[in-house]
C-alpha cells in the first residue's frame, strides 16, 4: 500500500488525474483507510464517497437508498444552481424507485433483451465496417472517436427509437448539457433541456399520428392499452433518457476500450491471436476503465451502515464504480488488465434494480466493434503515446477527447 498519499478531507470529487488512463493515486488509500470518505462536489456541497467493491454493491442493491436528489437535504452535483442532470427534469417524470420504477423497467426491458440484441448484431457489424471503411478512405492519422466510436451507437439508438441520426450533432450538444457538471451554466442547461424536450415531444406526436416499426411507436401503442403504459410526459422523458444513455456512455466506452487495448500493444496482439477472447476482453475493458465518470449517486433517509461505517440519514452517497472495480478484495490482480478474466462481476453497469437497462445492447456494440476492428484493421496503433491522450472534463460521464490512430496501408 502507498502510505505516502495524503488524504485531506473533504477531498474534491472527481479527483484530479495525472494521465488520462491511469486511476487517481488516492483510490487505493481510500479503499484501505477511509472506504466512506467525505468529499466536496463541484457544487460545493458535501457527500460520502464509497470506493470498496462490496460497499458499492451493497448501496446500489439496497432499496432504501433513493436515486432522487430532489430531497431538500440532498447534495447538488454540479456548479449550477439547479444541481445538474439527476436533480433536474431529465429524470423527473420517470419513476425512480419502488413499484413505479419496476413497472417502467419491465415495460422497457423487452426492447433490450439478449435475443433482440443478438438479432441486431449483424446490422451493427455492417455499420461498423462501413464507418471503418470511410475512416480508412479519409486517410490517417484518424480520430477513431469521431469516425467510429461516436456515430455507431448514435445510429443504433436512433434506429431503435425511430429518430433521424442526421440530428446527431444536436443530440450530442443536448446530452453534453444534460450531463454537465461544470461545463455549462444553469441557463444553458435549462435551454438545452427545453429544446431537447420539445424535439422529443414533436417526435412522440408524429409517431402517435403515424406509428412505425420502432420502440417509441410500440411504446405509444402499449400506452394506449388501458392503465398499462406511460403518460405523455413519461414517454418524452423516456425517449430523451434512452437517447442520451444509449449513445454517450457507449461512444466513450468504445474509444476508451480501443485506447486501453492499444496502450499496451501486447493486449491487441493477444486478441489478434485469439479472437475467442473478445467477449472477456470487453468485460475487462469495462472493469479496468478508470474513467467511468462521476459515480452513482444515492440519497439515504435512514441511519444505516455501509460496510462497517455508520452513515447518517440525509447523507448523499456517491459510489465510485471505477474505484470499486479496482478493489483487490473482489478481483485478483485488480491493477492488471487480464483479457481472459472470468468471472468478471464488475460494477460498470451498476447493480441491483437500476442496473443498466441497455447493457445487452452495450455489450453487443462493444463486442461487434472490436471484432470488426480486429478483422479490418489488425495493424491499428495509437498515433500518440497513451500518456498524451486527453480526457473530457466537466461532464458526469467521462471519456477521451479524441483517440488518434494510425495503421499500415495494405
Amino acid at each position: 500500500m502507498d502510505d505516502n498519499v495524503s488524504l485531506d478531507f473533504p477531498l474534491d470529487h472527481p479527483l484530479p488525474r495525472v494521465t488520462a488512463l491511469e486511476p487517481p493515486r488516492e483510490w487505493e488509500a481510500l479503499r484501505e483507510r477511509c472506504p466512506v470518505a467525505r468529499v466536496r462536489l463541484p457544487s460545493g456541497d458535501e457527500a460520502s464517497l464509497v470506493t470498496r467493491y462490496h460497499d458499492a454493491r451493497q448501496v446500489l442493491s439496497d432499496p432504501r437508498f433513493g436515486r432522487t436528489l430532489s430531497a431538500p437535504g440532498a447534495a447538488r452535483l454540479s456548479a449550477t444552481e439547479s444541481g445538474g442532470a439527476f436533480s433536474g427534469e431529465m429524470s423527473g417524470p420517470i419513476p425512480q424507485s419502488g413499484p413505479g420504477h419496476e413497472r417502467w423497467r419491465r415495460l422497457l426491458n423487452r426492447w433490450f433483451t439478449a435475443r433482440r440484441m443478438a438479432a441486431l448484431r449483424p446490422g451493427i457489424e455492417e455499420m461498423a465496417s462501413r464507418l471503418i471503411d470511410e475512416m480508412i478512405g479519409r486517410g490517417q492519422p484518424a480520430d477513431l472517436k469521431e469516425s467510429l466510436a461516436f456515430p455507431l451507437p448514435v445510429w443504433v439508438i436512433c434506429d431503435m427509437l425511430g429518430v433521424p441520426d442526421s440530428d446527431r450533432e444536436k443530440f450530442a450538444h443536448w446530452s453534453d448539457a444534460m450531463l454537465s457538471l461544470t461545463r455549462y451554466t444553469g441557463a444553458e442547461m435549462k435551454e438545452a433541456g427545453a429544446e431537447f424536450a420539445a424535439y422529443m415531444a414533436r417526435h412522440v406526436d408524429a409517431k402517435r399520428a403515424e406509428p412505425a416499426d420502432d420502440l417509441l411507436s410500440e411504446l405509444i401503442v402499449a400506452s394506449n392499452a388501458e392503465g398499462q403504459g406511460l403518460s405523455e410526459a413519461e414517454l418524452v422523458a423516456t425517449g430523451r433518457a434512452l437517447l442520451v444513455a444509449g449513445h454517450e456512455t457507449t461512444a466513450n466506452m468504445i474509444g476508451k476500450m480501443v485506447a486501453m487495448l492499444l496502450a499496451d500493444r501486447r493486449r491487441w496482439e493477444r486478441l489478434l491471436a485469439d479472437r475467442s477472447l473478445v467477449r472477456t476482453a470487453v468485460e475487462e475493458a469495462l472493469r479496468f476503465d478508470a474513467n467511468l465518470g462521476f459515480g452513482m449517486v444515492r440519497y439515504i433517509d435512514d441511519d444505516i451502515e455501509v460496510g462497517d461505517t455508520p452513515v447518517r440519514r440525509g447523507t448523499t452517497v456517491v459510489c465510485d464504480l471505477a474505484a470499486a472495480n479496482r478493489d483487490e478484495a473482489a478481483f485478483d490482480g485488480a491493477g492488471e488488465m487480464d483479457l481472459a478474466r472470468s468471472p468478471n462481476p464488475h460494477l460498470s453497469f451498476g447493480a441491483g434494480p437500476h442496473s443498466c437497462l441497455g447493457q445487452a445492447l452495450a455489450r453487443t456494440e462493444l463486442q461487434a466493434v472490436l471484432d470488426v476492428l480486429l478483422r479490418l484493421l489488425p495493424s491499428l496503433e495509437l498515433a500518440v503515446p497513451a500518456t498524451e491522450l486527453r480526457r473530457v472534463e466537466g461532464l458526469l460521464v467521462t471519456g477521451l477527447r479524441e483517440v488518434p490512430v494510425t495503421w499500415k496501408e495494405s
Binding site: 433483451t113 439478449a114 472470468s342 447493480a351 442496473s355 437497462l357 447493457q359
Partner: protein, 66 residues
C-alpha cells in the same frame, strides 16, 4: 448442479442469456429471466457459474449438489 432464479430480483439485464442461452431465457413481454433447464449438462457448469457470479441482481443461485 441445480439452478434456481428469483424473478422478483431479476432486473432483466439479459447477461445470463448472452452467456448461456441453453439454460436461461427472458420473458418476451418484460425481459425477466426464465429457466430453460434447471439441471444443465456438465459442459455448461462453468458458464452457468459465471452467469450466477455476474448477475447484477444476484438473482441466480447454483446448488452444486453431488
Amino acid at each position: 448442479m441445480k439452478v434456481t432464479v428469483d424473478q422478483g430480483l431479476c432486473c432483466g439485464s439479459g447477461n445470463c442469456v448472452m452467456l448461456v442461452p441453453d439454460v436461461f431465457d427472458q420473458r418476451e413481454e418484460d425481459g425477466i429471466v426464465t429457466l430453460l433447464n434447471p439441471e444443465p449438462a456438465a459442459e455448461l457448469h462453468g458458464a452457468v457459474r459465471e452467469a450466477a457470479d455476474m448477475c447484477p441482481a444476484a438473482a441466480i443461485s447454483v446448488d452444486e449438489g453431488k
